[in-house]
Amino acid sequence: MAAMVRKATATRSTSRTRRAPARAAAPDRGSDAEVVAAEGDDGGLPQVEDGERMMLPVPAERLEDPDDLEDIRLSDVNEWGRSERMRELARRLYDPIYRHWFRVEWEGLEKIPSDGGALLVANHAAAIPSDAPVIMHGIETELGRPVYGLADNFFRTLPVLGTLWNRVGGLPAHPDNAYRLLHQQGQLVLVFPEGAKGPAKTFDERYQLRRFGRGGFVEIAMRAGVPVVPIAVVGAEESMPTLFRVPSLARALGVPYVPVTANMLVAGPLGLLAYFPAKFKLRVLDPVHFDVPPNQERYSRSRVMDESEAIRDQIQVALYDMLRARRSVWFG
């Protein structure tokens, strides 16, 4: 209450003349912090040294000083569409599933950098992928760092789901998004290089990694100058195994694939939502650093493909290793 009163008086006493210099000198909010970070390597744009130079006067009708972005924003949706309040709510709702249904166990969590950008790369499985929420929830609760998940653009076209996914930290998988998050904001970004081919595979192909796209994730990590942290996930495949796909229906609906899952046979239509309680085990592998200069126009195609293939192999080997040690699908 007192703060509100103070703010109101401060607003009134700020005159138009005081406003312009204060504005120019004040450390700007939001994305301005990135400008400072980005200026060192902005690709040779000339710098104009007169940020404080007076503009030509433009008639203004406003009297009060809209100095703080937070003051007038009504929600906490950030520039990526993520809302920490929604994320907190999602974490609270998801925590029992994480702890008691999937009983998630991590190995090597300390290998995920505690600050600075890193591209997390994992294998992708289950008809409706259960691995993304597990990884995001795990890292956010254990390490206290936000994770941004990149997903197929298809997600964005879904009403309600697309918006919710965005509010809890999901983004369309566009290289520009990954680069800005990794390089300029030093965030953790999660990506599944298999794309839709991962969750689309049927049960008899479980834990067989698909092609890692065209190695775009390696190129982004190189350009952003951040390490790739591979993660091997065991358990997702059995949480919602696909028995077979219905390509004709997928074409008719305009979706990437239509699976018929074991969950549907057991639980009927509810099987679209209900996962089997498979035991989740995740192993974080050693971060892969590329000693190439960041911000290059392009990188050697063969180098990119080699690195991509090497990371894929690492995850595949780790998966086989974990599966050898697994006694039960349900109890680990």
């Binding site: 909010r29 994305s31 200026e39 030509l56 972005l69 007038i72 569409g81 076209t157 009403p159």
Partner: protein, 357 residues
């Protein structure tokens, strides 16, 4: 006139297109205060709507067929091209094509004529050229290509305009060309499809989608055009306020609730309202109300431009001005252009012009 006198007092002769629009009128007004600007010539198809002291108004037809004569006769060194239609509801596609594409073509033909004196061109475009699709990045930089080919007439026409701008810049390396792409402009003086939606008692949205919008306040629009003029900015620049605001929050900032339209058949549902003239959600805005659009505004900031308003502040300023207007009505009497009066003040020997205004 030297080829380019950068630095110390420049006597600039400026041609402003679209003088009768909000953009051109306000830019000309601001230029009149600049002692470096010697001559301001304004073109439009209709008379200016703001009061101007020394700007010379020339009535032209929509596609500027007499432009090369004007450029030759006035020896302007700068063209500020604000006469581009970015609101698809304003006129028919054919009229829009005439103004945007043919107008720009003639403008550049005049500017690149042999012995042309033009050394600076500033073009007002729109972030509409980036389109709007689910494949889009969250932030478009000036170099990001659009995700899907342009389908809408307005987008195609702006794309062609930008094509002419690029060709002109390539063919005339001695001319400094600045292309400013403005995000959703918002302000009390300007009417756009979005401001019309926000003035409705219930703000239309699309069921299940809450896209994030970026806005730029009309004041920042004028300031950025003048900034480009003063600093001879070269290249393409996005102009948009910091931050993005979800559409539901935009409505909330305006003190409104949203009304959800179905995601499929949106046009069909809004058709009766459009026919009755109550409300219109133009089809160019359907995708935008699903996916939004964000542009990276950092290039302009790197050149030293500072925005007065973030996206959220722009919305707030807009709605405050709307509320004020609704209560007290139009504060200033609407200005009408009287040809004889304006001619008298500019050219009669009875008027003393040597005194500072």
């Amino acid at each position: 006139m030297g080829p380019d006198a950068r630095g110390a007092p420049r006597h600039r002769r400026v041609l402003v297109t679209g003088l009768g629009t909000f953009w051109g009128g306000r830019v000309a007004q601001a230029l009149e205060d600049d002692p470096d600007v010697e001559v301001i010539v304004g073109l439009d198809t209709h008379e200016p709507t703001v009061e101007l002291e020394r700007t010379e108004y020339v009535r032209v037809d929509a596609n500027y067929s007499i432009l090369s004569r004007i450029v030759r006769a006035t020896e302007v060194d700068t063209i500020i091209h604000t006469f581009l239609v970015v609101d698809p509801t304003q006129m028919s596609n054919r009229a829009m094509h005439e103004i945007n594409v043919i107008g720009t073509m003639n403008l550049f033909a005049a500017a690149s004529a042999p012995r042309s004196t033009v050394r600076n061109v500033i073009v007002k475009s729109s972030t509409m050229v980036y389109g709007c699709a689910p494949e889009d990045p969250v932030w478009f930089t000036e170099d990001t290509p659009r995700s899907r080919p342009a389908r809408m007439p307005i987008e195609r026409s702006l794309e062609q305009v930008e094509g002419y701008v690029r060709d002109f810049a390539e063919d005339n390396p001695h001319v400094n060309v600045a292309l400013l792409r403005f995000s959703n402009v918002i302000g009390a003086e300007l009417e756009t499809p979005l401001t019309r939606l926000l003035k409705l008692p219930l703000v239309p949205s699309i069921l299940g989608y809450d896209p994030r919008f970026q806005f730029v306040h009309e004041e920042d629009v004028i300031r950025s055009i003048l900034f480009a003029f003063e600093h001879d900015l070269p290249g393409v620049f996005n102009v948009a306020g910091d931050g993005m605001v979800p559409w539901s929050e935009v409505a909330a900032l305006c003190g409104k609730r949203t009304i959800a339209l179905p995601p499929v058949g949106t046009g069909l549902v809004t058709l009766p309202f459009r026919q009755l003239g109550i409300a219109d959600v133009p089809r160019e805005y359907h995708a935008l109300l699903k996916y939004g659009r964000g542009v990276d505004n950092r290039r302009l900031k790197q050149f030293g431009f500072r925005y007065s308003y973030t996206s959220a502040e722009a919305v707030e300023a807009f709605i405050e001005a709307v509320r004020l207007r609704r209560t007290v009505g139009q504060s200033e009497p609407a200005y009408t252009y009287e040809r004889d009066v304006e001619q008298f003040f500019r050219h009669s020997p009875a008027v003393r012009r040597d005194r500072p205004l």
